[in-house]
Symmetry: C3
Amino acid sequence: MAEQHLLTITSRGRGSVEITDEIAALVGYAANKNAAAGPTVNAGIAHIFVRHTSCGLAITENADASVRRDLETLMQRWAPDGDPAYRHNQEGEDDMAAHARSLLTGVALTIPFADGKLLLGAWQGIYLFEHRTQGHRREIVVTLLG
Amino acid sequence: MAEQHLLTITSRGRGSVEITDEIAALVGYAANKNAAAGPTVNAGIAHIFVRHTSCGLAITENADASVRRDLETLMQRWAPDGDPAYRHNQEGEDDMAAHARSLLTGVALTIPFADGKLLLGAWQGIYLFEHRTQGHRREIVVTLLG
Amino acid sequence: MAEQHLLTITSRGRGSVEITDEIAALVGYAANKNAAAGPTVNAGIAHIFVRHTSCGLAITENADASVRRDLETLMQRWAPDGDPAYRHNQEGEDDMAAHARSLLTGVALTIPFADGKLLLGAWQGIYLFEHRTQGHRREIVVTLLG
């Protein structure tokens, strides 16, 4: 099986948007559909891919929002906005910083599932990290493989 | 084919634990079992996922242990323990640092295999990096797709 | 379906080599071959894995080469060559830095495809990042899963 969906998420500027429920719903839907049609997909992986270079995807702690605030603090150190060394700055001080942050977390995630449920740990959430200061419409391709 | 296994690894506190042999054994076992049952799985990927947010998985050099010690040195710079800027520190000075280190390497790996063998390079090992100072029991889901 | 190919790329020393066209060609070839043989592979993921620990793979902006130059600037800060704290330095000042850079981006990428085409965004390119100062022959395993 390989099943593919397109999600569109609109960010409100720099920060994280949780998408765990959206991915879990696609995995649950696929399991139910296949159960009716014939052989059930018992196990596999969900692949999540964002089609941009100035945002990223990451799995991190889902209980205390200050974790994601502290990650922002660190990302600002790792790739400061408006660093004088940058040559790529056409779109503003956050332009190159956003590409660098995107490199560090990457633009793809893979998560195992079984019996229609993601096998995330209790404290794991799936997040889109918007790295631009302005909000953007972000396209995410979800592929379920089993 | 999609085949799934749960591994449990007990870490002894901050540092790396090699799990290459455990993953290789699952890939070898799957190849033999399928050879007996019918169509052999000739090629695919092994997906390794740790169900926690304060440890991580990484592939790195397997010959000289000082590589992993030097990586610890760098991770301490990238996400210092007890940084005064952190707001998330309920579980101690290593709490937020562990989440940040986990973000940098990620919690999932994918490795190709063929004919029952991982296609790692000669110097590549698979490691669980424990980022907390105390040891923990860590659950790893391994999914073989082919 | 799982289909596997070996690519060999020769780098000219530190810097990035775009491999988007090579991966796209393998995906296109697989779709055509399967269309002739029987059931078409409509959707899946391309898995790209480099079998080394001193180079890496990353998806980043493909239009302005200064993005990749700025990423080099940042990587030099994240993992400086010849840092006095390193214990692993047998192969020179770039040795440990290369392993650390490899850890940050990772050695594997996964990209969705459908109907014989990679589902990359308009500004996304696939790059091999050579982290050693000398050029090297790098082996890349490409696995198509659908």
